[in-house]
Amino acid sequence: MTLAISDIAKNYGRFPALKSVSLFAEDGEFLALLGPSGSGKTTLLRVIAGLEVPDSGTIQFRGENLLAKPVRERNIGFVFQHYALFRHMTAAQNIAFGLRAKPRSTRPPEAAIRSKVDELLSLVQLEGLGARYPAQLSGGQRQRVALARALAIEPRILLLDEPFGALDAKVRRGLRRWLRDLHERTGLTTIFVTHDQEEALELADRVALLKDGALEQMGTPEELYHSPESAFVFEFLGDCIKLPCIVEGGIAIVSGAGVPIVGARPPQNGPATAHIRPDAFNVTVGGGQGLSARVRNVLLAGPDARIECVLDSGDAIEVRIAHENADRIAPRDRVTLAPRAVRVWQSSSIA
């Protein structure tokens, strides 16, 4: 275990930002801290960097107590959400800052600093832009300067706060893949904060999902997506349709039809809420076993066909099916929606 975080708690006045969070990162791992805003993910990142002091708990890095060191001695690279580039310095000067700030005994000679800066500029694909000021660079370029600046000090851990948050969707996708490549090349233990579940699932080796300052679940993207331990995890990682059901003898009865329950089985029989992904329905025209509904609209643009329906209860839901199954469905048709499987948790954390 490279980085071990144990029982970290932090309060801002009476507001608990972190409530006893424990997690770990292996050497070279790419870890995502995922959660809605206010879940404490950025606070945790700042605690690791030393920019915030926790009220209690410990952080060990390779057996050494990290909390005992001030920020500037931790040797942890930090990329800020809005980059925090030094605005009066050129990109090259920004990148060289950490090297020039080293004590005289460990500071590399000026020529070595220059060649290191050139090397980093080419690593982040900004050759020839070293003389530009931050104001003269695009958002994506600024972000890469910030990354090069953090990498210049050869950090032991790299921390990224919402690395793609301030970029538009297209640049974001490109940078995401590029960052993953960079991580594979450098092998640096990296932790990044995001509120975007797609980003976390696509990039990270493991994802820590936080909620209200506590760790909700931690695991690989597959584990989180396919074996969510709570309704919150299931709902945060994708679209979710909630339907009332009755649990009876290990299956859920939804609108009179029995549906198998996947995942943890609720211990009690009785009324409960079934959670279903929009793509886990069979849709048939006409009557049958399941929820009867009227089709309001069929949306055919996109990877799946999306069927907007109104249930007999009056609730509107949107389900997704393959395009070839959508050909025979038209607006105003009566259809039957049959969930293939549902998940039921004893107490749903989101009402």
Binding site: L51, V71, G77, F78, F86, A101, A150, A152
Partner: protein, 281 residues
């Protein structure tokens, strides 16, 4: 740029507004300024030179420059420290500190002077103690420096605090994660980011410290050639009906102010692009 007809104001309104503005400035600002120079030069240039080369006038100039040379650096260091403290840290009593900094702006300078008389004067709280130690504050240069420093205290801090608050402390945090210590962060990150605001603050502080009258008048004692700063010297000459000499010294003070203004304008023109770049975020 071609203007939209609908958005253009009627010409008479534009003319009237400009006329009001110009007249207001002319009557309140320009006319007195012109009068100062006209009065000063009424008896010719050689008389003017004689008046400002007179022994007591030179002493007043030296004293004024000395006071500014002490008060301005003091308030620059204090202003920086206060702005840094207020904007980069959270602590109990922060808003009280900000309010305290503003006090010299809101109270009459005469009160600032009287406070020092009350504290350090012969019959003041610390008067007897200081007397025993052989230190004289009131009716002395020390008192003038103290009063001037108090009155000009907010200028640098007031220029810096809003800017540093807007800039936040992310760059300082970034410097810390990159291994920079306090001094390196201060000289390579914080100061370059606020250098223009700092310069404005210092210029305003200088102008005011040379022109301060009220507070200085109370503590100085008006001893000609010893504790009379330029504004006090002007008053002394005026009260002695030496109008031309009074205006001559006054014109020098006005000139100081004009030079300060010119330097500020020049800096803005010369480094306008850099200023704009700094406001990028």
């Amino acid at each position: 740029m071609k203007q939209n007809q609908a958005r253009r104001d009627p010409p008479w309104l534009v003319a009237a507004l400009i006329a009001v503005g110009v007249a207001y400035l002319a009557i309140l600002l320009l006319l007195p300024l012109v009068t100062v120079f006209a009065e000063a030069l009424r008896r010719g240039f050689s008389y003017y030179l004689g008046a400002i080369r007179e022994h007591d006038a030179l002493a007043a100039m030296r004293l004024t420059l000395l006071v500014a040379a002490i008060a301005v650096p003091l308030n620059t260091v204090f202003g920086l420290a206060a702005a840094w403290t207020v904007t980069k840290f959270d602590f109990f009593g922060k808003s009280a500190l900000v309010t305290l900094i503003d006090i010299p702006f809101s109270i009459s300078p005469v009160i600032s002077g009287l406070v020092y008389v009350l504290l350090y004067g012969a019959n003041g709280w610390f008067g007897p103690l200081l007397d025993k130690l052989g230190i004289q504050v009131i009716f002395n240069v020390t008192g003038i420096v103290l009063a001037t420093t108090l009155v000009t205290l907010p200028f640098v801090a007031r220029e810096l605090i809003p800017l540093m608050q807007a800039q936040g402390s992310d760059e300082e945090a970034a410097a810390a994660t990159l291994g920079a210590g306090l001094w390196r962060t201060l000289f390579f990150v914080t100061l370059p980011n606020v250098k223009w605001a700092l310069m404005y603050g210092v210029l305003l502080c200088t102008a005011r410290s040379m022109g301060e009258f009220g507070a200085v008048a109370v503590v100085s004692g008006h001893i000609r050639g010893q504790t009379a700063t330029m504004p006090l010297h002007v008053e002394i000459l005026y009260n002695e009906y030496a109008y031309v000499a009074a205006f001559a010294v006054a014109s020098l003070l006005a000139l100081f102010a004009l030079v300060t203004l010119a330097v500020k304008t020049l800096l803005e023109a010369r480094f306008g692009d850099e200023l704009a770049a700094q406001r990028w975020r």
